[in-house]
């Protein structure tokens, strides 16, 4: 029995390979563009390179779209694996089955963030009449391509090392000890969470990209703990059920997908303006609006569970 015979894993690796091949072919074009690009030249070569630029853009945009779909699929496949891995009831057990799991998950989110940054830079580049950011855009892409290669390797390592005989820990074990950052209590954590949220809204209003960058990173970290240890318990309506993954399941109306995607999208829009500014020196604060929008949505969903529980039962968990 090999885990690579699971049809969702087969399919995932197949599509990942297709994407890597597509990107690999466009790498040749990228190398050529970086080597010979000279906007001022009126040579046939330069014009050919300008045309190639559109191919590479298309391929990368396509890749990003597929990557997002595959990410959802990856998380779903983890749920599928749960019955095969002894002891695992949800994705927690599967992702924690070996040391690569959590790294892979964080790594995947990180590459998606970077790809998102690339999309914005590309958009800005296409709006200029002289391809102002073309070189930087492609240097960034080379970095991303290397990272995606590593991701593929990590994925292979992760799936080959999932034990199918020795039991793994499930969320009831992994998250039972409150492993909160800075030695905080849950109540304090939640207070800081709301405080941070309000300050992000203020910072967004004043268009401060670098401040928003710092605050959003903090918020992302804090939000993870808050959802796992506090809001999650209200989603499950059980004070001891602490798990970031179970909420992705059908029993909870797949609400986890909405919670996590609003959080990730929100922080992405909060973090990227600063990164874009430091990469290409262009201010693109417009994204901060979406930062405020998605984070508000995220906080609203989380708070809704707490409030509705309180209204129905008259107590907090």
């Amino acid at each position: 029995m090999s885990i690579f015979l699971l049809d969702s894993i087969v399919v995932m690796f197949f599509v990942e390979t297709v994407l890597l091949l597509l990107m690999g072919t466009s790498m040749f074009a990228v190398a050529k563009i970086l080597k010979y690009w000279n906007f001022d030249a009126s040579t046939t070569l330069q014009y050919a390179l300008e045309k190639k630029n559109y191919l590479v853009n298309t391929i990368i945009l396509f890749t990003i779209g597929v990557k997002i779909i595959l990410f959802v699929f990856f998380v779903k496949s983890l749920d599928d694996l749960a019955p095969l891995v002894p002891g695992a009831m949800c994705a927690t057990g599967v992702i924690g089955a070996n040391k690569f799991g959590n790294t892979l998950l964080i790594y995947k989110i990180f590459t998606l963030f970077l790809l998102g940054v690339w999309v914005v830079i590309n958009r800005l580049d296409l709006k200029t009449k002289k391809f102002d950011y073309l070189r930087k855009k492609y240097y960034l892409f080379i970095v991303i391509f290397a990272l995606l290669g590593i991701e593929f390797a990590l994925e292979l390592l992760y799936f080959t090392n999932i034990p199918l005989n020795t039991p793994v820990f499930c969320c009831s074990v992994v998250f039972v000890v409150e492993n909160l950052p800075f030695g905080l209590e849950t109540v304090d954590l939640v207070k800081i969470f709301y405080l941070l949220f309000v300050s992000i809204l203020v910072v967004d209003y004043f268009n401060k990209a670098s401040l928003s960058f710092v605050l959003n990173i903090l918020f992302l970290l804090l939000a993870y703990y808050c959802v796992t240890y506090f809001f999650g318990t209200y989603v499950y309506e059980e004070p001891n059920h602490k798990c970031p993954f179970c909420m992705l399941q059908k029993e909870y109306h797949y609400i986890g997908y909405l919670i996590w995607s609003t959080l990730f999208l929100g922080t992405y829009f909060g973090i990227s303006p600063h990164i874009i500014y430091s990469l290409i020196g262009k201010k693109y604060q417009r994204l901060l609006r979406y930062n405020a929008l998605f984070l508000t949505l995220f906080v609203a969903i989380c708070s809704y569970y707490v409030i509705s529980f309180y209204l129905r039962n008259g107590v907090f968990l």
């Binding site: 029995m1 090999s2 690579f4 015979l5 699971l6 049809d7 969702s8 894993i9 087969v10 399919v11 995932m12 197949f14 599509v15 297709v18 994407l19 597509l22 072919t25 045309k51 559109y54 191919l55 853009n57 298309t58 391929i59 396509f62 597929v66 779909i69 595959l70 699929f73 779903k76 599928d80 019955p83 095969l84 002894p86």
Partner: protein, 366 residues
């Protein structure tokens, strides 16, 4: 970003050029059809097995004697009831009757609602018995005697009830020649899930000849079996997919070649390279989604209305003649098929579309 009238125009052109896409549409729909049908069948079988399993208890206990399963007796039943955490123990009678005239075995299953003089048979058994002129009643040939029972009903066969004769417990013991205190296996009811594993481990320690199978182990056995089969199939299928995509890329390239002039006209009017790629992407998305939905609907009909002729033999062997698959459609599976087929399809048209888009405008218009 382009607006709705751009999409309308892409669709209008697609309708005009539908012939270009017929080939890829049908081949691709066929490919999706096969993979969907296979997944429908295997999911349906798996579900029936799991449902049957869920109706049983949490631990199944069998008697293993010299590598064979042997009947259990009452003494074990009482002993098993003593184990902490076991709520109830039910003795089950079940076995195979040798129908010598056709050299095959019927599965004999207990159905408590039946009276002492009648039986139910599954559809395939019913058909077979008709050939041997058993229309109203059936004679079980047992050592020294003949047991004649009325065929009260023919029931539809799914994967579990296939090849089966249902009798009540009294008749089952007579047909299978089992004593009154003998049982084929025991089913243990264990209300607390956490204790299932402990109990399953404890039983063989108390009685080394007994085998205790917890329900999750049986379930995971089924899973392994189907994951394994599914995986091998998928890997083989990738080969045919890849060859299809190579075919598609060539076909698309040649079709696009004949559309060079048209694209150049659009470019001269103001379509950018990205617009042309988008136009082709929209058109191909429509084609591929059309093929996807058509294939899924057809394979649903094929598997669940027509009971998958031909393909079912691969799964169940040639003897299985009458079987109906329980319709199971899960979103996850459709999502999987989508990723498996639609995404590579769209990936394979990117480069031909771009090549078409970058043609020199004045050259291509000549």
């Amino acid at each position: 970003m382009r607006n709705k009238s751009f999409i309308d125009f892409s669709v209008r052109l697609l309708i005009k050029e539908k012939k270009d896409y017929l080939f890829s549409f049908f081949i691709f729909a066929f490919i999706i059809f096969i993979v969907t049908a296979v997944l429908f069948i295997s999911n349906s079988i798996k579900r029936d097995l799991l449902v049957a399993l869920a109706n049983e208890g949490q631990v199944i206990v069998k008697n293993n004697k010299g590598g064979h399963y042997a009947p259990l007796n009452d003494a074990y039943l009482d002993a098993l009831l003593e184990i902490n955490g076991v709520d109830d123990v039910v003795g089950k009678v079940d076995g195979y009757y040798n129908f010598a005239q056709d050299r095959r075995y019927f599965h004999v299953v207990v159905e408590e609602d039946l009276n002492d003089s009648s039986i139910y048979v599954s559809e395939d058994v019913g058909e077979l018995l008709k050939k041997f002129k058993y229309e109203k009643e059936f004679n079980f040939l047992v050592k020294d005697t003949l047991i004649t029972l009325d065929i009260a009903k023919v029931v539809a066969s799914n994967i579990i009830s296939n090849n089966t004769i249902f009798v009540n417990e009294y008749n089952a013991r007579r047909v299978l020649e089992m004593d009154d205190d003998a049982y084929s296996y025991f089913v243990l009811k264990v209300p607390n899930e956490d204790e299932i594993e402990n109990i399953a481990l404890k039983i063989p320690k108390l009685y080394p000849n007994l085998v205790a199978l917890p329900d999750y182990e049986v379930e995971s056995d089924y899973d392994h079996l189907y994951y394994y089969k599914g995986g091998i199939f998928m890997i083989l299928y990738i080969v045919s997919l890849v060859s299809f995509f190579i075919l598609l890329k060539n076909q698309i390239s040649s079709v696009y070649g004949s559309r060079r002039k048209e694209i150049a006209i659009l470019r001269s009017i103001g379509f950018s390279i990205s617009d042309i790629i988008l136009l082709k992407f929209i058109q191909n998305s429509i084609v591929v989604f059309g093929a996807y939905f058509m294939a899924i609907i057809l394979s649903y009909l094929y598997v669940f209305f027509f009971d998958a002729p031909l393909l079912r033999n691969i799964f169940l062997g040639e003897h299985v003649t009458h079987i109906s698959f329980t319709p199971v459609v899960d979103i996850k599976m459709l999502f999987l098929i989508f990723i498996f087929t639609v995404i590579p399809y769209l990936a394979s048209i990117l480069i031909p579309s771009w090549k078409l888009a970058i043609e020199d405008i004045s050259e291509a218009m000549k």
